[in-house]
Symmetry: C2
Subunit: 225 residues, 2 copies
């Protein structure tokens, strides 16, 4: 299992024949996408117990499916975690791109990045916990599978910084990629302590403003000196 190179979520078992588009007719009193149900349940359970301490059977129970069903949608337990991360970060990325589309100035754009990352998780404490804490389970997972998608996200942030520099709004003596990591890390750290601690409601959005203020002040082109 060291070199398992699970590529996709599991191609064969993608059970969706007729109700492919969505709830074809809701076969029972039941749900929509089963894959999504499993991901949601996994988020909840992983957050509460940690990835390695969680039994696949627990995720199954939480999702209301049989143990075996998990394996129809995911190659194995690792794949479940990685899929979770990839799915969510791609959602975040898409939402970010959409939001950025209507923010013209560099300053607004950077604030947007910060608000999005903190905002998305404000109502999703479990997801926050999984992403900031559990994802880092193993270096191997991180390096091999999650990293590419993660880099995409970092690149998006770096681009905002670089544009701001080109526009003359941000100081040019710092590396956009380094700043991207700095910004991401700062937000991640805040989310982590928030998720591990009290997680007071509204805490993240309040934090958002302060952090944005400081980072922006630090990045804005020096006027003097």
């Amino acid at each position: 299992m060291t070199e398992s190179r699970f590529s996709t979520t599991r191609e064969p078992g993608k059970p969706r024949t007729s109700r492919a588009t969505r709830g074809g007719r809701a076969s029972r009193a039941r749900e929509g996408d089963k894959r999504e149900r499993i991901l949601r349940a996994a988020t909840r359970v992983f957050a509460r117990k940690g990835f390695y301490a969680t039994k696949v059977s627990e995720v199954a129970k939480a999702a209301g499916v049989a143990d075996g069903t998990i394996y129809l949608y995911f190659k194995n337990k690792d794949d479940l975690l990685v899929s979770l991360f990839e799915d969510r970060i791609m959602l975040l990325l898409a939402a970010l791109e959409r939001a950025l589309a209507e923010r013209p100035t560099p300053e607004e754009r950077l604030r947007c990045v910060i608000e999005m990352q903190l905002g998305l998780l404000e109502g999703e404490r479990d997801l926050a916990e999984v992403i900031t804490v559990n994802l880092r389970q193993s270096t191997r997972l991180m390096k091999q599978y999650a990293a590419p998608k993660f880099m995409l996200y970092l690149d998006a942030i770096a681009r905002v910084v670089a544009e701001g520099q080109k526009a003359g709004a941000f100081r040019t003596d710092v590396s956009p990629h380094l700043m991207a990591r700095t910004i991401f890390g700062a937000l991640d750290g805040i989310i982590m302590t928030w998720a591990l601690g009290k997680a007071e409601p509204g805490g993240l959005s309040r934090a958002s403003t302060q952090v944005a203020d400081v980072l922006l002040a630090g990045l804005l082109a020096k006027k003097e000196r």
Copy 2:
């Protein structure tokens, strides 16, 4: 094993009778502190394979001791990880306090924090990886055991910020604790991507300056407007 409340490293097996002070006479061609040897080996192996993917027997082999010996010094595998983290962060904290003692101005002090955290790990890639990646293994570990020591460290940073505010050097419209998390997170994020990626030598110290510049600029009291 869910509620194991391992307090100390293991009191009984603290093998050090005569050569208590240090290398009494080097019983063979061998080492110094065996506990330290194990911690060092664990750092190396955990970094390479991840905590959960690492077998206790692998740590033992890397340390050049028998499997059972690990259990003379650590209560169990979890305890090994937590001890590692606590040991190291306390070292970092001590080093930080020492270094801060000779930095009078708030600006210098904040730079000191940043340089220490990045600098300590510059030569210790494995340790960096364990702390930033592996430590977050499980929420449970983090919450129950590592958090207290971690908070001590965050508090130290927050104190530097608060002092700076009191001295009138830093803006006062942000929470010192939030800034501490921001700073820690930013550094942690940088270290993580550094450890997961190329880890070019000298990369961290170069990053150090840029990050410090930006964060400081963001924190310094606004002169105008």
